[in-house]
């Protein structure tokens, strides 16, 4: 949680942290500013409130963050721009000198965070390391302070994620109803005028529904049919008509427009009827899903649940990433991931690592699936779960898990 950041800084012996970044979307900044990131740099001394450094043009956005705000103009950065316009390295150093002066910070270990241009920041950090020898700029590659903090959600975040989950479920139910209101012509789903209903039509419908619920789709939903559904991250072909009896993987991971938190859910549908091999594989995936669901327990390693699902699916005869490393058939991915401001956060549920443990306040997905592109199908079912204060695991994704989507038309 956000309230853990000072403790984590102490544990890692960091005296301050900087969230660098330019205009690019910056999850660390979104987190600290409650979604009001503006175009800013954030500085925080351990035990002190975070401060946003920004342009006067961003001041109104920046103030909504609740953080202290200092503008470049207040620090008369424009003087340094003019004075060092012909030596851009020295310009940068002098600007940071002024920032560090303002923050009364001259020596210690500084954690480096933020998202942005990697080449530029590589040069910037080398330059700052060289010019400020009493500062040590420390990056983290794994389980960073932010990774650990975001992995457990506070009560306000859980409330928000519940609400976003409800809205996402309403959108997916609306898509089910929308498709179901059509009729078939042969094996093709058609509109009232007889033209095929395409994946593009469904996606357009869903995007407009998302907007009605103040949700956006920045990463692009997956609506993949037949062979495409056999590739876990294929987004589907917009031009393709919906067909009866083909498995459709519909993975929707929209973001709340205001707060920038995500929901993530997947359903597999087969319109009109299900082919026997699809129904069989679907039932096996649900068996794996339920095996993990009934086993989840606070304090256990997340890798254990991936192993449970691997056991079930291997027993059903599916190749997996454990039995056949590198396979693209069968169960090829991990069981789930945390989510919040990013669609993939800690903890992760893989058998390749075992450093994550289920904790109170975790919000994570469960999403077993099997994939057979050459046999023309793929299946995945996904809910978002949260771990309540009493340790119970609840779903944020109430929507039904029917495989066969009947046409009413």
């Amino acid at each position: 949680m956000k309230s853990d950041i000072d403790r984590l800084m102490a544990e890692r012996n960091l005296d301050a942290l900087i969230v660098f970044g330019g205009e690019a979307e910056n999850p660390h900044r979104i987190y600290l500013t409650h979604g009001h990131e503006a175009n800013s740099t954030i500085f925080k001394k351990r035990g002190r409130p975070a401060v946003m450094l920004t342009n006067s043009m961003e001041i109104e956005n920046a103030r909504q963050s609740g953080l202290d705000v200092i503008t470049y103009d207040e620090l008369k950065i424009f003087e340094l721009w003019a004075q060092y316009r012909d030596d851009r390295d020295m310009q940068l150093v002098k600007i940071w000198e002024r920032y560090f002066e303002r923050f009364g910070f001259s020596e210690g270990r500084v954690g480096v965070y933020g998202f942005g241009s990697l080449g530029a920041s590589w040069e910037t950090l080398k330059l700052l390391s060289q010019h400020f020898p009493k500062l040590e700029f420390v990056g983290e590659r794994q389980q960073t302070i932010f990774d650990v903090a975001v992995a457990t959600k506070d009560a306000d975040e859980i409330k928000l994620l519940k609400d976003i989950g409800q809205r996402t479920n309403l959108v997916m139910q609306a898509a089910w109803d929308f498709i179901g209101g059509h009729r078939a012509d042969g094996d093709t789903v058609v509109k009232p005028d007889g033209a095929p209903l395409t994946i593009g039509d469904v996606k357009r419908f869903v995007r407009i529904k998302l907007l009605e619920y103040e949700l956006e789709d920045p990463e692009g939903m997956i609506f993949a049919q037949g062979r495409d559904a056999g590739f876990p991250h294929s987004h589907g072909n917009d031009a393709e008509p919906l067909r009866l009896g083909k498995a459709i993987v519909f993975d929707l991971f929209p973001r709340d427009m205001k707060t920038k938190y995500f929901h993530d859910m997947t359903r597999t549908w087969s319109i009109g009827y299900a082919a026997p091999e699809v129904q069989k594989a679907y039932d096996e995936v649900m068996t794996a899903f339920n095996a993990a669901m009934s086993a989840y327990k606070v304090g256990e390693k997340t890798s254990r649940y991936q192993e449970i699902v691997l056991d079930v699916l291997e027993e059903c005869g599916h190749p997996t990433g454990r039995s056949h490393p590198g396979t693209t058939d069968g169960y090829t991915h991990s069981l789930g991931h945390g989510l919040g401001i990013q669609v993939h956060e800690s903890p992760s549920f893989t058998h390749l690592r075992d450093d994550d443990v289920i904790q109170l306040g975790n919000v994570f997905t469960i999403e077993p699936g099997v994939y057979y592109p050459e046999r023309g199908f793929g299946i995945r079912v996904e809910d978002t779960l949260y771990v309540a204060e009493n340790g119970a695991i609840h779903s944020l994704t109430p929507m039904h898990k029917e495989l066969v989507l009947p046409l009413k038309g």
Copy 2:
């Protein structure tokens, strides 16, 4: 242009380049992959095609990029994951060793690009620098290879940007018509049922219109009225009703959903009538706009046009960032910026730097404005322009520039 990249690598003595990055949106990767970035790392030797390294799960997306694709599984990276699971630094080094082997690359200068997690990449690059002493990892802070390449658009890009411009203009005209179809009650614009028409209502209308034209709004439009319009980057208050005679700055910078290219345009509207001080300031901004438009010439420094606009607006009595550094009243920003895959690209039109020159193939904005938050208004007018092969400067933003938006209702 993309075709300049090998030449730029030679000029900068780079033997290869790497576009690093994880899941976060990565403009360098979008550029090289024609919008099909997948979650991948890109490696390119000078004079050779770029190669995408990605997960098998991303293979279908990755192939659409037109680049060569190698999966982690083909390189048996899972072996290294397993072998070095307890030493994550060595795991990373061994993985890169395998990549470099596959590319037959063992010494030289490597340009570092991409967008992603800055702390992680800082540690990664330190680690790689230490373990591969024959490789020099070079970042660029200013006018990077990508900055220079994207600044000039090829014929296909210009065609695309024209089309996106037309669609954006249709959306903004639709917003004008939508507002104009309402009536006033006192000084408030109201809906048929008498409830106020709010900024949130207008934004919802615009977002749905954008979708109809296959456009998205990833950065969030500006629709700011009255005092809010006096802050150049205030997004406006959704709850606020539209009022007669208040200046509204409407800055729309949507992105094509398929190709990820932007358009950028701003209009200032005053519903029903314009207050005399708003009309006067608007006319002065348009005088500055036209002065720059009629002066643009290929080969000239971009700073010259900022100076022209500064001259005009200072002569009208407006404070500026040149006459009053750090001012938040008057003309407080630069005249424009290139755009394409990012909403802000090279060239920039500021008086604080003079290293950019107008070139054939440039696409850039012109957006003079004046801001008076305490007097309750701001004004900005913005078109996107392009420099044709014959050196002529054309607008991609045909929409009219009427200030007063009359209500028909």
